[in-house]
């Protein structure tokens, strides 16, 4: 580390003291994020041709929809990172392009799709080509991301270099579900912002965007079956047309990201009644949705029917958390209805959730529900239920012991809106804690970091998500035995990845401190 002057020695002291910086500024190290399953490399430097080519000799994938071609072009743009490259690159050790071989001709992004890939980058020979082999196009997309992270722009020669060749990388994800939640009810997020979040997810190989579309505060999405629902939007223009939603899904799927849509019932629904006041128990008591009114379920059916045309993911999220049933017991017609059906308000809650589950199943969905549903009546839930943990640790082990599937998002570690949750906690949060039975381990689909939007809008969403979400992303991708036991061991590599995000225009915050911290003083991105 060079501390060039007296005035900078304070910074040097801080860094050494913080034990944060070792030698990671070197561009030669293994700085991939997330770490692949296996990576072997040599020690040669090769140079990317300025006319870097995509080929697909031996591939079964025709790329009729242009997914691969677009991904390749995006990657080349990222590699050059807006730099002007020198066309007079060396005439030896030049990598002419990448050959992508995909086994499956199908580019439907199903849940659990094979995301594995093999990447080989030779170091010697003429007309060098990197070789990518994958079962599906989505594995190939991950391979391109990995490849891009091996490349550096050399500012002196103006050539994109690839160090430590030859490379052989075999990689596949540990969990099939690697999610990020965004919340467009507390604050509206414009479509371009959602797209930029999707872009940034692919850099750390996250693959599910959980779209918490609607909540108490606003109902931004157009529902053709019930066109007054989006009267509950914040304003005329803070809305998503159904075409916007279709476009977001299309955009995400082409990058290997599934979109999990959520309607959170029966609580968290105040905004529904703006357009349809009958959904409220009464004018003065507006949540949860009126369990006694058939109209409530007709609307849910309409919404899920419309969803099924847009959101093609295997799952839909039905919420079910934080249901305060006091409006049901204090509103005479609902109290009467409960009595007539020999239910107390807890029964009403269960009745509501299970009925909503059945509606979702009738539209072809598997269901995800927040953990309160399991905690209260887990034995009654449909076997198609995936229980979404959030309240704390220890839930997943109970869920899988009962034979249900689970997604981990314990709020103390994986809630991004908890600004005091640091990246080290995101990194070390282990979804399989206390689950040793392999059959039960399989029931843990993965995990998700949650970006609740009370204090999040376009201005700060990316800096609150990143780099902490990336720390969780490695936990969800990389084989357990390759994960660092002490997160400080990966600090330099994560700092490097944060700078990569910055270079790509993603507003990832410094690692030091809590979430969304501004840099405390001047300094290198790699050291903050």
């Amino acid at each position: 580390m060079d501390c060039i002057s007296n005035t900078r020695s304070r910074l040097c002291f801080v860094l050494l003291f913080g034990n944060f910086l070792s030698s990671f500024v070197s561009v030669h190290g293994l700085n991939l994020w997330p770490m692949p399953k296996s990576a072997n490399h040599g020690s040669n430097t090769i140079y990317l041709s300025t006319n870097f080519q995509l080929s697909s000799h031996g591939s079964n994938y025709s790329d009729g929809s242009g997914i691969l071609k677009e991904a390749f072009e995006r990657m080349v743009n990222l590699l050059e990172a807006d730099h002007t490259t020198n066309s007079k690159f060396p005439n030896f050790s030049v990598l002419a392009g990448v050959n992508v071989v995909v086994q499956s001709p199908d580019d439907t992004l199903n849940y659990g799709v094979d995301e594995s890939y093999y990447l080989n980058i030779p170091a010697k020979g003429s007309q060098l080509y990197a070789q990518i082999e994958a079962k599906t196009i989505f594995g190939a997309l991950h391979a391109l991301e990995t490849f891009s992270q091996l490349c550096y722009f050399n500012f002196t020669t103006k050539v994109v270099e690839l160090h430590a060749a030859p490379w052989t990388i075999n990689d596949l994800p540990r969990f099939p579900y690697r999610g990020l939640l965004i919340d467009t009810s507390r604050h509206y997020l414009p479509v371009p912002v959602i797209k930029s979040v999707i872009d940034s997810m692919t850099y750390s190989k996250l693959n599910v965007l959980h779209w918490h579309i609607v909540d108490d505060q606003s109902f931004p999405l157009e529902i053709p079956s019930y066109p007054k629902l989006w009267d509950g939007a914040y304003s005329y223009s803070e809305r998503y047309t159904i075409n916007d939603a279709t476009e977001i899904v299309r955009y995400a799927e082409r990058k290997g990201v599934n979109v999990l849509a959520e309607i959170d019932v029966p609580g968290h629904t105040l905004s529904w009644g703006v357009g349809y006041p009958f959904l409220w128990p009464s004018q003065s008591c507006r949540e949860p949705l009126d369990v006694s009114n058939e109209f409530s379920f007709k609307v849910i059916d309409g919404i899920l029917s419309d969803f099924s045309k847009v959101f093609k993911f295997k799952f839909v999220h039905l919420g079910g958390d934080e249901v305060n049933t006091s409006c049901w017991t204090t509103t005479p017609h609902i109290k009467q209805w409960l009595d007539n059906h020999h239910m107390n308000e807890s029964d009403g809650y269960r009745y509501f959730v299970l009925r909503a589950q059945n509606i979702a199943i009738s539209h072809g969905y598997d269901i995800i529900n927040w953990e309160e549903t399991f905690n209260n009546f887990g034995d009654k839930l449909s076997p198609k239920t995936v229980v979404h943990n959030w309240l704390g640790s220890g839930v997943a082990e109970k869920v899988v012991a009962d034979g249900l599937r689970c997604i981990v998002s314990n709020q103390d570690k994986w809630y991004l809106d908890h600004i005091d949750a640091n990246w080290q906690g995101f990194y070390t949060n282990e979804p399989l804690t206390n689950i040793s039975n392999p059959a039960q381990q399989k029931l843990v689909l993965g995990g998700e970091v949650c970006m609740w939007g009370e204090h999040i809008d376009t201005s700060d969403i990316q800096q609150t998500i990143w780099p902490r979400a990336a720390a969780a992303a490695e936990r969800l991708w990389t084989p357990f035995d390759k994960l660092a036991k002490d997160p400080e061991q990966v600090a330099s590599r994560l700092a490097h990845f944060r700078c990569l995000l910055n270079k790509r225009g993603v507003q990832a915050a410094p690692l030091f401190g809590f979430g969304r911290q501004v840099p405390s003083e001047p300094g290198s991105c790699y050291k903050q």
């Binding site: 060039i4 002057s5 007296n6 900078r8 500024v25 561009v27 990172a81 807006d82 730099h83 002007t84 550096y152 722009f153 500012f155 103006k158 009810s185 604050h187 414009p190 479509v191 371009p192 505060q217 606003s218 157009e222 914040y234 304003s235 005329y236 223009s237 803070e238 809305r239 047309t241 075409n243 916007d244 279709t246 476009e247 009370e454 204090h455 999040i456 809008d457 376009t458 201005s459 700060d460 990316q462 800096q463 609150t464 910055n502 790509r504 225009g505 993603v506 507003q507 915050a509 410094p510 501004v518 840099p519 003083e521 001047p522 300094g523 290198s524 991105c525 790699y526 050291k527 903050q528």
Partner: protein
């Protein structure tokens, strides 16, 4: 292209005629403050407000396949063509082209530019007129027409046009409300700047470009690039290739080609890039590659005034930069010079004695010598105000004095015949998080200058984004929306911005513009937070935060 000349002048005459007809109600102050969610809102939500405008009550639909009809001598201008493509992408949703076949009121945007000179210099004509109405058969005023004297005026007109295009969530079409619109617009000040500091934190090229793009939305037109400072020297200088050894890391650098690229990107948006090398203070990083520039190993600032080598390096840096930065103004810094090292280092002290100079005298000597280097390269030197405050009478008469310490400097500078740029830190420093947007908005660059002859010496103003605590993660949210408040002050006529009760007159429109920035992906922070760059205080609409 003579055949195009005639229609242009007829258009111009007709515009003037229409404007005269409607001018009685055309002042910028006439804006409605009511906001509603309805698509028939009568409010005017343009930022910055144009000089003159009138509007009607019609609603026009705009075709998602809008085409550009670029006429006049600049009919091949790639600057206008590319800008049109950018704005079309901003205006229309990405799915909008699918399937609709109905008739639209506006399917062609006519742009007439009367000069093919694309030289971008200070004071370049940025005026434009915009007519936006229903296409009428037999009328030579077509549905949508922008007229400008230069391509840069056309760019400003395109921005205004884009702000009038609003998505209708009922019809799923883009519409223009309150048509027909007649807008005649030009900037109040020629220099409308934003400063970026890439020494305290490196900003990737992508991020700089995004800032430039956002500047164009507010019609700011000068990116003041404070490239180098004590902490790091990120720019490649071919003549002295060790200078950028002082970059933070090998990846936190700008190659010469990167700088060219940034200048070109900015030019395509009508934005000048004014580069700065801040001498003799704020230059510690220079000595990493060339320790002789330090007075000694343990006294590293300011640059060694006693060595010819110091001025050789400055001269070479400026020569290299001259090739990259075509803008006629160049910033030489000159602020916050602590001359203790000169006093305390034996060989410098000796040199001072030999030349019969005090340290203050040496400071002046240094600044003037650097000015001469810049002038010899055909640059107008810009210096921070300390140079004027300390030895204003000796500054080169071409000097542009850059105010920052406080109010009242430009009145003194213009009194002495100098040009001036206002950046009073109490109102226009973006790194001061406790300055609310209202202060940015109400700061008047001509305050205290009573002699109107002197007004033209105030080139304009600049908001400064010093980046001790700003990097890629937070730079945009620290800049916006406050910089936009200053942008309107610098663009719109005085009578439009000298208003009372900002909350009634300006705030809703300002909030609307902040949401527009968000919709374009710019991380502009909430307007009404007490401190800048803070997250929204709770759930709510963008238009109310």
């Amino acid at each position: 292209m003579p055949p195009h000349k005639l229609p242009i002048s007829i258009h111009a005459l007709l515009f003037l005629f229409l404007l005269c007809l409607l001018a009685s109600t055309s002042h910028g102050r006439r804006i409605s403050v009511t906001r509603s969610n309805s698509n028939t809102s009568s409010a005017v939500y343009l930022w910055p407000l144009p000089k003159h405008f009138t509007h009607g009550e019609q609603t026009l639909s705009v075709s998602p396949d809008l085409t550009l009809n670029l006429q006049g001598v600049a009919h091949n201008s790639s600057i206008v063509q590319e800008a049109f493509e950018r704005y079309r992408d901003l205006i229309f949703k990405s799915w909008a082209h699918a399937g609709s076949t109905s008739d639209y009121d506006v399917s062609t945007l006519n742009v007439l530019v009367s000069s093919d000179n694309e030289t971008l210099q200070l004071g370049v004509d940025e005026s434009y007129t915009l007519y936006l109405g229903r296409k009428q058969s037999g009328s030579i005023v077509d549905g949508a027409t922008i007229e400008a004297n230069t391509v840069y005026g056309a760019l400003r007109g395109l921005e205004t046009f884009s702000q009038l295009c609003v998505f209708n969530y009922d019809t799923k079409a883009v519409e223009v409300y309150n048509a027909p619109w007649y807008i005649q617009d030009e900037p109040r000040f020629a220099f409308r700047g934003l400063m970026l500091d890439t020494s305290r934190h490196y900003l990737p090229i992508h991020v700089i470009k995004e800032v430039i793009e956002a500047m164009s939305y507010t019609k700011l037109n000068v990116l003041h690039w404070h490239i180098i400072d004590e902490q790091s020297f990120p720019l490649e200088v071919p003549s002295y290739p060790k200078l950028w050894k002082a970059s933070y890391t090998k990846q936190e650098r700008y190659a010469v080609e990167d700088a060219y690229d940034i200048v070109d990107f900015a030019k395509k948006r009508g934005i000048h890039v004014m580069a700065e090398t801040d001498v003799p203070g704020h230059a510690e990083s220079w000595g990493v590659g060339y320790p002789d520039l330090w007075t000694s190993e343990n006294c590293t600032m300011p640059l060694d005034v006693s060595k010819d080598f110091t001025f050789e390096v400055i001269s070479s840096i400026l020569s290299d930069m001259r090739k990259i930065f075509p803008f006629e103004m160049f910033h030489l810094g000159g602020d916050e010079v602590n001359t203790d090292c000169w006093q305390n280092t034996a060989h410098v002290k000796e040199w001072l004695t030999e030349h019969d100079l005090t340290t203050e005298g040496a400071y002046q000597y240094f600044v003037l010598k650097a000015q001469q280097i810049a002038i010899d390269l055909n640059w107008t030197p810009v210096n921070w105000e300390e140079t004027f405050d300390n030895f204003g009478e000796n500054l080169n008469p071409q000097t542009v004095v850059h105010n920052w310490l406080g109010p009242g400097v430009c009145p003194k500078a213009v009194e002495k015949g100098f040009k001036c740029i206002v950046s009073n830190q109490g109102v226009w420093y973006l790194d001061h998080l406790d300055i609310p947007w209202e202060k940015f908005y109400t700061s008047e660059p001509l305050e205290g200058i009573n002699n109107t002859e002197h007004h033209k010496l105030v080139l304009g103003g600049e908001v400064c984004m010093w980046s001790e605590t700003a990097d890629t993660s937070d730079v945009q949210q620290t800049i916006w929306p406050r910089a936009a408040a200053a942008a309107e002050k610098l663009w719109s006529p005085l009578e439009a911005t000298a208003v009372y009760d900002l909350n009634q007159t300006v705030l809703p429109r300002f909030q609307y513009f902040r949401c527009l920035l968000n919709n374009r992906g710019i991380a502009a922070a909430p307007v009404t937070n007490f401190y800048a760059r803070r997250p929204p205080i709770g759930p709510g609409s963008c238009f109310e935060q």
